[in-house]
């Protein structure tokens, strides 16, 4: 079996597994993925294994086999960790895509995200934080925004560098769930949190996008609301 499989190559195996899945033989397919996982891992065939797990996970998730799909997604993060794979845009986009396909409230999704973010904070360049890479945070924030999970979306936007996306989400959040009197508080909270994370350029982008686009902020600078002027001055003072 081992020799036979070794000669076949990933593509052929994938095809066979895909047929299994199309036929609804999910259990068999899942077990076979796990067998291949242990075999490829011990052989250190990381590239092939990552392709296999990513495609397999997408395949299961798109067939509503959420447990199997999430299991393979978590195995994929294990391989990323074990292989010391580079934290590349491509890898992070794949993780972001798997996250978007998982069920919103499943414990597997939380577990997957925690491990994935932990992996991206390894050997991170220029960010120097332990919260995870801003690009993965952004991707997750956008997914959660689509799901109207504003609270979690905001958390991930704060750890991203997408000030414009954050502001647009916050406007929608404020209008649908906040009180009109909190129009200035929503952006003040966010700007101050970005600043606490030493991310002044994203703080500034978010502030300007929010005050320009929010229908409840009727004038530009100087604003009618003192808190908005305070934020404008604060951001300017930090720049100087």
């Amino acid at each position: 079996m081992a020799n036979k499989l070794r000669g076949q190559g990933v593509e052929r195996v994938m095809k066979k597994l895909q047929v299994n899945i199309e036929l609804g033989q999910y259990y068999e397919a899942h077990q076979m993925y796990r067998t291949l996982y242990f075999r490829y891992l011990s052989q250190k065939k990381y590239e092939e294994l990552m392709t296999l797990l990513y495609d397999g996970s997408v395949l299961f998730l798109s067939h509503n086999q959420h447990n199997s799909g999430s299991d393979l997604a978590i195995l994929l993060v294990n391989v990323l960790n074990e292989s010391g794979a580079a934290v590349s845009d491509d890898n992070m986009d794949k993780l972001g895509n798997l996250f978007s396909m998982m069920l919103p409230d499943s414990p597997e999704r939380t577990n997957f995200l925690t491990n994935a973010l932990k992996w991206t904070s390894k050997n991170i360049d220029g960010y120097g934080n332990s919260f995870g890479h801003p690009r993965l945070h952004q991707s997750v924030a956008l997914t959660l925004w689509k799901e109207k999970n504003y609270q979690q979306s905001r958390y991930h936007f704060i750890h991203s560098t997408d000030g414009d996306g954050c502001a647009t989400m916050l406007i929608e959040y404020h209008i649908t769930k906040g009180y009109p009197s909190e129009v200035d508080l929503f952006i003040a909270q966010t700007v101050l949190q970005y600043l606490c994370l030493k991310n002044k350029s994203t703080a500034s982008t978010a502030f300007h996008a929010y005050t320009e686009k929010h229908p409840g902020v009727t004038s530009g600078f100087p604003f009618l609301l003192p808190l908005l002027n305070f934020l404008q001055f604060l951001l300017q003072a930090i720049e100087r």
């Binding site: 905001r154 959040y173 769930k177 009180y179 909190e182 003192p226 002027n229 001055f233």
Partner: protein, 45 residues
């Protein structure tokens, strides 16, 4: 230097007046409070 901030003076003077007349803070929405760090949130509610 402070001179750089001189355009700010009339705006701050006006905002000082406005804040004297400002209504007391109404209770916060859950949406706003959910952005607080959990420890801070406990103090607020």
């Amino acid at each position: 230097s402070l001179f750089l901030f001189k355009d700010w003076v009339p705006i701050i003077a006006r905002d000082v007046q406005r804040q004297r007349r400002q209504a007391p803070q109404a209770p916060f929405s859950n949406a706003y409070l959910s952005g607080m760090p959990s420890k801070r949130r406990k103090i607020m509610t």
